[in-house]
């Protein structure tokens, strides 16, 4: 038993849901109680999906437990198949159903599903978590669909440069992009474009946007690109073992990693390295000029970034990539590196060791917060959880990894992979540091007369202005309430009764000044001297008209 206040990952069936929701034509029947339907909102609210995730929950209740919950499972499967006509069916259970052992997958196997491929998902809810569930589901689904194509044992490995003999362009699969993953939608577009500019086609993108039939085309590619190891790692190794397909493993986040990725890709496919990917005498590749990051980082304006202490925490791939970019490409000093992805802990440990650090492997956000405080960073790169911790510690933060929130799914194109991704990272990491710096300057100069009237920075309402209160830290939000700005000459005639003040105090701080102003204006207009709670309510009714 383990005490958890906030959690980085959901249960494994949420991972399965992410695979189902990423794809078209897949439906998931989940044996689970009604409360588990909360998972739908992750997709419809955080990702703003326009359709409900393709899942049917059995929503069994206590009174069903005495009776036949197995019958309920079968009814739900039959109805889902009839209603949604999926091209592939996932059948599984959540934590509670695992305990009652109806074995929904076995039940489905005994039903006539009209020949739809069915995957029996057994995701141990009491030992595994969301990313593991996503990876396992993706692997099981592809394995089920590719079973008929399995080459007999002893078949020689597929040659990743066979495209040459076949007289066509090389092609690869992009694997692992999924819903609720960090910036997957834009990363896929960025990497597809990058590959195209190097003469490489994309055969299958999966799971994001794929249909079951597309997955059957996976072996037609010359190699797999494991874009998101958390989701595609196990599948890529299986494809390597069973189909002899090569895997490109470098995750192309950051300028250096993107160049390394391209080099690995060319080597794997037997493509000749273009000049831009061959390091010159100074060790630089011309290709790096496709991103602004190297120049922006070298420009004098960035001198102040030197040695900034940065604390990094996230899923393994994004944390490792962030550490490389921070230390090598931005000249930061990495003072902490960690992950909640236990499955990839080894890789994170290695990356940390390279920086002379010991990796923090933990899914206890309080332990992460403590490590963060201990490291005394000037910038935090983390998940939404670290964003909150950093805010409490008064340290600027940029989000680099899932778990995500609605603001991590921006409307604009903002990949983190490839050369454009590096530009995005430069902006989104350096910006919070600049905000911190500016606030510092504003604090320093706030006694100068130019500032007295309340300097408004381009940060808008978020930045504390000198006129209000200098008390707030670098969190960017001033919680202190500015003094009443009622007409100065007549302010003396107005007074707030204690009930009036008490009532006012109950109004949320961010609207309180406005309510105070309105109420005073209202009282003045009517010649009311003492503002009681009643007057406040009168004013409220007046202004809501």
């Amino acid at each position: 038993m383990e005490l958890t206040l906030w959690t980085y990952e959901g249960p494994p069936h949420v991972g399965a849901l992410r695979i189902a929701d990423s794809m078209e034509g897949v439906h998931y029947v989940l044996h689970a109680p009604q409360g588990d339907t909360y998972a739908d909102l992750l997709f419809t609210m955080i990702e703003r999906q326009q359709r409900r995730p393709p899942v049917s929950y059995t929503t069994f209740q206590a009174r069903d437990l005495g009776g036949d919950t197995a019958e309920l499972v079968k009814r739900t499967i039959a109805e889902a198949v009839e209603r949604f006509r999926p091209e592939a069916l996932l059948v599984g259970e959540s934590c509670t159903a695992e305990l009652i052992q109806d074995q929904p997958g076995a039940l489905a196997a005994g039903m006539d599903l009209g020949g739809i491929p069915m995957v029996n998902l057994e995701l141990p809810a009491y030992s595994k978590k969301e990313n593991w569930g996503a990876a396992e589901t993706f692997y099981q689904l592809v394995r089920t669909l590719l079973k008929p194509q399995l080459p007999p044992p002893g078949t020689p490995k597929a040659d990743p440069s066979r495209w040459r003999a076949e007289g066509r362009r090389p092609r690869v699969n992009l694997l692992g992009a999924s819903r609720l993953g960090f910036r997957c939608r834009d990363d896929v577009r960025e990497i597809t474009g990058l590959l195209a500019s190097h003469g490489v086609d994309v055969a299958v993108v999966a799971p994001l946007g794929a249909r079951p039939a597309d997955l059957m085309g996976i072996p037609t590619a010359d190699a797999n690109v494991c874009l998101y190891p958390e989701v595609a790692g196990p599948l890529c190794s299986w494809l390597e073992r069973s189909f002899g397909m090569a895997t490109v493993k470098t995750v192309p986040i950051g300028v250096g990693a993107t160049v390394t990725f391209l080099q690995e890709l060319h080597r794997t496919l037997g493509l000749e390295l273009p000049a831009g990917l061959i390091p010159g005498d100074d060790g630089r590749c011309d290709s790096e000029r496709h991103s602004q990051l190297p120049w922006y980082s070298r420009s004098v304006d960035s001198t102040y970034l030197t040695g900034k202490r940065v604390f990094i925490f996230g899923d393994a791939s994004h944390a490792i990539a962030a550490a490389r970019i921070a230390s090598r490409e931005l000249g930061f000093q990495v003072v902490g590196l960690g992950t909640y992805s236990r499955e990839l802990a080894r890789e994170v440990r290695a990356a940390a060791a390279e920086l002379g650090l010991e990796a923090l492997i933990s899914d206890d956000y309080l332990a992460v917060e403590a490590a963060m405080a201990e490291a005394a960073p000037e910038l935090v790169l983390g998940t939404q959880m670290e964003r909150h911790s950093a805010k409490r510690l008064g340290v600027p933060c940029a989000v680099i990894s899932a778990p995500l929130h609605v603001q991590d799914v921006p409307a604009r194109y903002s990949p983190v992979m490839g050369f454009e991704g590096a530009n995005v990272l430069f902006d989104s990491w350096v910006h919070p540091l600049m905000m911190g710096l500016e606030e510092h300057l504003i604090g320093m100069f706030r006694h100068d007369f130019e500032f007295v009237d309340g300097h408004r920075s381009h940060l808008g309402e978020g930045a504390p202005s000198a006129g209000s209160s200098g008390a707030s830290g670098s969190s960017g939000v001033s919680l202190a309430e500015p003094p009443s700005t009622g007409a100065p000459a007549t302010a003396g005639e107005l007074c707030w009764s204690s009930e009036g003040e008490a009532e006012l105090a109950k109004i949320p701080f961010f609207v309180r000044p406005k309510v105070r102003r309105n109420t005073e204006a209202f009282a003045r207009e009517r010649g009311i001297g003492a503002i009681t709670d009643e007057v406040l309510y009168e004013a409220k009714a007046h202004y809501s008209r």
Binding site: E2, T4, V14, Y38, M45, C95, T96, K506, S544, R545
Partner: protein
């Protein structure tokens, strides 16, 4: 009395409703000296986190004791583990006075006896913290029913009233009997509660207590002479438990909207024999003002067609408010379950012919939504965007349990919550 309503549609199938654990999200704010410890799975932890939306609390006053494989192997283990975890938690959070052990589906299916655990832990930490238990599991409870469970757990701790003090309420007739008091049950926003208590005082009702209290240790008393007024419609079990203790249930609609809130207060006043003339003198100006404030929203809402999906159990009172005060047309009023006794005063005010539905088969219900094309659907977060994408305006029901919406003075704010999505649709254009 409700013969004008056709029989409700009764459905079973997929229910798109939160479980009772969700109510922790507002209960922990109401009682800052209490901690809610769910004994459950990672799913339970993830549900509360997702329903709460943002993780703004460094150390929230709720958490989940996540069962692991080792706990499932043997029950003795699970109890020891729970003891260890609770000791650890209490050491870290010395300010906690009441600890609620909250049962979940997994803890119930493995028959982990949390009542016994609460007793044991209560003895271990006696004098320092009171340990209670209730179920918020999805196999037993929906959404707001969690609060019903939590309040029921508090009832046995409520003392009996002191008798014959005479310092009872104004207008009361009894002398020498148990002191009369008005007991308001159901979580209200603190500011709203203060306002309502204040208004009752103007009616001459000074002896007003609330459940849950703001401090978990300051429980109101209950017994003969207690008149129970429900502020929330989902407290069936709590009401029963309080009635068993001698309280008398006041029959009233719920304090949503101008008319409902007035009737709610008037019913309480009548129960204490307060002169209706005084009630009118105090409340009618508020009613008039409330209606004035509500008028612009009524303009937006009148004649618009409303569909309520079953979710928070507030659906029937809301439907009554939106038709009675705001002139909306009711297409279908869903409710997770129908408690006819607690809804009696509401049901009789629904327009004749109102179609209720009880339980849910979400696919079929959504088919009805698409067929009827209402102007506004009240629904859970999972369904809102998909309906908006189909061109149907929605209002999330979860916002209603977090917002101060009760009482005459809040009626305009409540109406505005429903008018806003419609106004917004009208305000947007991309051509």
């Amino acid at each position: 009395m409700t013969t004008t309503l056709p029989p409700p549609i009764k459905e079973s199938g997929q229910r798109e409703v939160f479980c009772g654990l969700t109510s922790i999200v507002w209960l922990h704010r109401r009682m800052p000296d209490a901690f809610f410890l769910v004994v459950g799975s990672r799913t339970c932890a993830h549900l509360i986190q997702s329903a709460a939306g943002v993780m703004i609390f460094a150390e929230p006053r709720f958490g989940t004791a996540i069962l692991g494989e080792r706990d499932l192997a043997g029950l003795a283990d699970a109890n020891d583990e729970l003891d260890r975890l609770v000791a650890q938690l209490l050491a870290r959070r010395p300010e906690i006075r009441t600890l609620f052990l909250v049962g979940s589906c997994p803890s119930e299916v493995i028959k982990l006896d949390l009542a016994k655990a609460a007793e044991r832990l209560g003895a271990q930490h006696r004098g320092r913290v009171t340990v209670l238990n209730y179920s918020g599991s999805g196999i037993e409870t929906t959404f707001t029913q969690g609060e019903d469970g939590a309040l029921q757990a508090l009832v046995p701790l409520m003392g009996a009233p002191e008798t014959g003090t005479g310092a009872s309420t104004g207008g009361g007739s009894g002398t020498g009997r148990a002191a009369e008091q008005l007991l308001i049950a159901g979580t209200l926003a603190d500011a709203v509660e203060d306002r309502l208590v204040n208004l009752f005082a103007r009616l001459g009702l000074d002896n007003v207590a609330t459940l849950p209290p703001r401090r978990s240790t300051q429980l109101p008393r209950v017994g003969p002479g207690t008149k129970l007024l429900l502020a929330q419609p989902y407290l069936s079990g709590t009401a029963r438990a309080l009635i068993d203790r001698g309280a008398e249930l006041i029959r009233a609609p719920y304090p949503l909207g101008v008319q409902g809130s007035r009737a709610w207060m008037a019913a309480a006043a009548a129960a204490f024999g307060i002169d209706p003339a005084l009630v009118s003198a105090v409340l009618d100006p508020l009613v008039e003002r409330g209606q004035r404030a509500m008028a612009p929203h009524r303009e937006t809402l009148a004649g618009k067609r409303l569909f309520l999906m079953p979710d928070s159990q507030l659906e029937i009172p809301l439907a009554r408010f939106l038709s009675q005060d705001c002139g909306m047309e009711l297409v279908e009023v869903g409710t997770p379950y129908l408690d006819r006794q607690l809804m009696a005063a509401e049901l009789e005010q629904l327009p004749p012919g109102t179609q209720l539905s009880e339980g849910q088969h979400v696919e079929k219900q959504l088919e009805r939504v698409m067929a009827q094309r209402p102007d506004l659907v009240v629904c859970g977060l999972g369904l809102a965007n998909p309906l908006e994408a189909q061109g149907i305006a929605t209002k999330w029901s979860i916002e209603l349990v977090f917002s101060p919406i009760h009482g005459i003075d809040q009626a305009a704010d409540l109406a505005e919550l429903f008018a806003r999505p419609l106004r917004r649709r009208g305000a947007l254009t991309f051509t």
